[in-house]
Amino acid sequence: MRKKSELRKTFREIRKNKACYAMLAPFMILFIMFTVIPVAMSLPIGFTDFNMVQKPEFVGLSNFRTLFLSDKIFMSSIRVTIVFALLTGPVSYVLCFLIAWLINGMPRYLRTIFTLIFYIPSLAAVYTVWQLIFSGDMNGYLNSFLIDLGVINAPAQWLTDGRYVLGVTIVVQLWISLGAGFLALRAGFQNIDPVLYEAGAIEGIRNKWQELIYIVIPSMTPQLMFAAVMQIVSSFTAGTVAQNLVGFPSTDYKAHTVMTHAYDYGWERYEMGYASAICMILFIIMFFLSRLIAKGLKKIAG
């Protein structure tokens, strides 16, 4: 009985808020079609064999068994992705924070200029210029510079030598990584109430370091969280940069990330079931990581 009346209440609520749903509808329809359904679909499709032409065929855990037990390239792509994410993610996060902090201490006009300078690489996909910098002949800027200095005496094959490709990709990824997260942190600093610093000084805060721990980080937790999410997304799903820069596939799969692997199976071989299984693993890793960071930040903020 009680359940029924509650249900009726909910219905009444829904009817009362008709207008709200109407306002939401245009966005939600597109959002459900192009974000919710694709993400939700990756789950069932990951358990099938599906080539886009025939009907998907249920194969149980076979995709995952293949991935973890016999797909050597997948295992190496996980290693590459983790190395890549561990190097680009935290470094770029700290850089975003540090640069935003330093910029905040600048006079107004310099703040505008510096923000533009650091943000500009992420504006458009203009990293092709790095191909000229890392070019493998004597005409490559890095090669000619290093030869001039006498560090090396023959041009290094930055873009094709298996020893360098991952490093090169990481440098370029770092270069383009000061995006929305950077702007959020930059804004977060600007938004801290100056009164907080005064109060802190009265309570015995002596230096910039203490100020950072006791005032800045606690009052910027939401922005820090936002920037962390952006950073996780860009470091774990990177792949385009590597594909365009060091080729696809890269030498010895040295810059072959999980994302590239999914791309390979999804768009090159049309094995959608397998590609979905790969993406699902990536989703799960990313989801737990963002939870972990949220917990960590809450602890810091007290």
Binding site: E13, A19, I45, T128, A180, P222, C279
Partner: protein, 291 residues
């Protein structure tokens, strides 16, 4: 005021920081900034370098005889694809304008009700949007492709516009910003008998200029860079980034042309960002995820 407090207060006023610290951070930022800007500078230099200077050894960091030949060649190079260069520009402008307009309108409407009203499902939708920030990237392209195939929009401009138009990031930023607005303003309009749609357009949106500008910049930037590889096959629907990628992949001899194309790609979003930076920073201050 005790000396300590005064000192710290001064050190935190952005414009009046102690000179030593400011100078040091200025030097640090400048060095790092040079590293950031150097490739951009090189892009511009390479774009105005005549072909014969590309193979000079050692490579020069400036153009001895700057020329606009590369820009001219860029128009000619893509023309060999039987589609005139202007077509790619038109496609990109069309896609960018559509995505930006649709996203701004839809996202504002959704963000407004999500920020200011409680109704069955509102909390869940908010949660889904925050979570989906994780999934808005290339990870879902493959699955999106399947949806688009079902809708029969592959190889049409809709395949470029619709997925980009429903960005959760836009709604999220807008909602954060609108929730800072005092309820009193909305209530006053409600008393006047205005419907939700009218409140949104006449009260809320005019008040949210910074957030709207931010949304516009992000939408513009994302849309301007849409390459559409995998969903667009007909040459006449390809966008500028797709054309640029084609030129860029044709080797060193075309490097100058590729760089000219990069410059061409970079200018519109850079101009938009410069014009609207102030608004962006204002909005991003509310971007935080509270949970």
């Amino acid at each position: 005021m005790p000396a300590e407090v005064k000192k710290l207060k001064e050190s935190n006023r952005p414009a009046g920081r102690k000179h030593g610290g400011t100078a040091l951070s200025f030097v640090f930022l400048t060095i790092l900034g040079l590293f950031m800007i150097f490739p951009i500078y090189l892009t511009v230099v390479m774009a105005v370098k005549p072909v014969e200077e590309l193979f000079v050894f050692p490579p020069k960091l400036y153009a001895m005889r700057p020329t606009l030949d590369n820009f001219r060649d860029m128009f000619a190079a893509v023309r060999q694809n039987r589609v005139p260069f202007s077509r790619y520009v038109f496609n990109s402008v069309f896609v960018t304008v559509s995505v930006t307009a649709v996203q701004c309108i839809f996202a504002s409407m959704a963000a407004f009700v999500l920020a200011k009203y409680r109704f069955p499902g509102s909390r869940m939708i908010n949660g889904v949007i925050v979570t989906s920030l994780l999934y808005q990237s290339s990870v879902i392209y493959i699955m999106q492709y399947m949806v688009m195939a079902k809708l029969h929009i592959i190889d049409s401009p809709l395949a470029l516009i619709l997925p980009a138009a429903a960005s959760p990031l836009g709604v999220f930023l807008m909602r954060q910003s609108i929730s800072q607005m005092p309820d009193a303003m909305i209530d006053a309009a409600k008393v006047d008998g205005a419907g939700l749609f009218r409140i949104c357009w006449q009260i809320v949106i005019p008040n949210q200029k910074p957030a709207l500008m931010t949304l516009m910049i992000f939408a513009f930037q994302a849309a301007w860079n849409i390459q559409g590889s995998g969903v667009i096959f007909r040459e006449q629907y390809k966008t500028l980034p797709a054309a640029v990628a084609q030129v860029a992949s044709s080797g060193m001899a075309r490097a100058g042309v590729a760089m000219a194309a990069s410059v061409f790609m970079l200018i519109p979003p850079a101009v938009v960002f410069i014009l609207a930076q102030r608004y962006v920073i204002e909005t991003m201050a509310h971007s935080g995820i509270r949970d």
